[in-house]
C-alpha cells in the first residue's frame, strides 16, 4: 500500500515536472526553454498579471492562475498569456462590452513555435466594433517579419512585442517565414467567417 502510494506520488511528480519544468520545444530541431519562446514567462507574476475574478481560468482550458501574464490592451480587449492543460500555451482575451466575453485558444509548445496562436472573439461577428482579433507570436517572430501593415493593426498598448492585435476582417494573408534553424513559421490569420448558419 505504501509502495503504491509512493509510486503514484512519483508518477504524479514526473508528470508535473514534464509538463511544467521541462517545457522545451522538441519539434523543428529546436530545444528552447519556454521563456525563450514566450518572454513574458521569464518575469515573475505581478498583481497586474492576475486576471479579473470573473475570468474562469478552469473553463478556459485549465489555465493555472499563477501562470498568467498581462500582454497588453487596446480599445477592444485585454490580453494575457497563460499555461493550460499539459503545459499548453494559451492566449486569453477579455473583450470589452456588455456580454463580457472572455475567450482562449491553446497550443502545444511545438505548435506554438510553428504558428503562434490566433484568436477572434466578441459579442457579434457582424459588428467588428464588438470583437477583437489577436495573435501571440514566438519571441523570434515580429510583426515586421510578417509585414503587417500598420493600418491593419489596432492601436494596442502592448507590454510585449509578441502580441499583435488586428481589427477583425482585416483580411491579412498567409505568410511563411523561414528561420535560421531551418524550421519555418506560418502566420495564418483567423478569418471571422461567422454568421447565421
Amino acid at each position: 500500500m505504501r509502495f503504491a502510494l509512493l509510486a503514484a506520488s512519483a508518477a504524479t511528480a514526473t508528470i508535473v515536472a514534464v509538463s511544467t519544468a521541462l517545457p522545451a520545444v522538441a519539434g523543428d530541431g529546436a530545444q528552447k526553454p519556454i521563456e525563450a519562446i514566450v518572454p513574458a514567462f521569464a518575469q515573475p507574476q505581478t498583481a497586474s498579471d492576475v486576471v479579473p475574478e470573473r475570468v474562469d481560468l478552469v473553463a478556459l482550458g485549465g489555465i493555472a492562475s499563477d501562470s498568467t501574464r498581462f500582454l497588453g490592451s487596446d480599445g477592444y480587449a485585454e490580453y494575457w498569456v497563460g499555461r493550460g492543460n499539459a503545459g499548453n500555451v494559451c492566449l486569453i482575451m477579455a473583450v470589452k462590452g456588455e456580454a463580457q466575453v472572455v475567450a482562449s485558444s491553446c497550443a502545444t509548445i511545438t505548435n506554438f513555435y510553428r504558428q503562434g496562436i490566433g484568436l477572434v472573439a466578441g459579442a457579434d461577428p457582424k459588428e467588428p466594433a464588438t470583437s477583437a482579433e489577436a495573435y501571440l507570436l514566438p519571441a523570434d517572430i515580429t510583426s515586421d517579419d510578417l509585414g503587417l501593415g500598420m493600418q491593419a493593426r489596432s492601436s494596442a498598448q502592448a507590454t510585449h512585442d509578441s502580441l499583435i492585435s488586428l481589427r477583425p476582417g482585416s483580411n491579412e494573408g498567409v505568410r511563411t517565414i523561414e528561420r535560421h534553424d531551418g524550421s519555418s513559421f506560418r502566420f495564418a490569420p483567423v478569418s471571422a467567417a461567422l454568421g447565421d448558419r
Binding site: E98, A121, R186, A192, A193, D196
Partner: protein, 154 residues
C-alpha cells in the same frame, strides 16, 4: 457506616447519570444520522446540478467541414468550448467556431470565439439560449473529409 455510604455514593451517582448520558448519546447519534442523511441528499441533488453545468452536444463526433452541431435550447449558457482531432498540413490548422445565440426571429449572437482548437469562451449568463459549433478549413477549396469534433456548453 460512613465509609460504606461514601462507597455507595459513586454508584448511586452513576445510576442517576447513566440515563442522562444515554439520552445525550442517543441525541448525538440522531443528529449525526440526520446530518449524514442530509449530506447524502445534498450530494444526490448537487451532483446532477454540477454535471448539468457542462453539457456535451457533440462528443467526438465525425463532422464534415462547416457542418454545424447544435446544442438545442438550453435553460442557461455561460460559455463553452470546442475541440477537434489534430489535423495539420504545412503548419496550417482548421479553425473551430463556437457561438452562443438566441435563434430567429430576431437572431442575436451573445458571444463567439474562433481559433485553432482547443477554443473556449465564457460570457454573461444567457437564459433560454442555444449554442452551435463547427470547424472550417479556409486554406484550400477542396474537402479534407471529416474530423472528430467535440463541443460543450457551460
Amino acid at each position: 457506616m460512613v465509609l460504606a455510604k461514601m462507597q455507595e455514593q459513586p454508584s448511586l451517582q452513576c445510576e442517576k447519570l447513566q440515563p442522562i448520558q444515554m439520552d445525550q448519546r442517543r441525541r448525538r447519534r440522531h443528529s449525526a444520522l440526520i446530518t449524514a442523511v442530509l449530506a447524502g441528499l445534498f450530494a444526490l441533488i448537487a451532483t446532477p446540478v454540477a454535471q448539468a453545468a457542462v453539457y456535451t452536444y457533440a462528443n467526438n463526433v465525425s463532422t464534415g467541414e462547416n457542418v454545424t452541431r447544435y446544442s438545442g435550447l438550453r435553460s442557461e449558457i455561460r460559455g463553452g468550448d470546442g475541440n477537434l482531432e489534430p489535423y495539420s498540413v504545412d503548419g496550417a490548422n482548421p479553425y473551430v467556431i463556437l457561438e452562443t445565440y438566441h435563434p430567429a426571429p430576431g437572431y442575436r449572437t451573445i458571444g463567439f470565439s474562433q481559433g485553432v482548437p482547443p477554443v473556449a469562451m465564457i460570457h454573461t449568463k444567457a437564459t433560454s439560449a442555444h449554442q452551435k459549433c463547427r470547424w472550417d478549413w479556409p486554406w484550400s477549396s477542396g474537402s479534407i473529409g471529416s474530423l472528430k469534433l467535440t463541443c460543450k456548453t457551460r
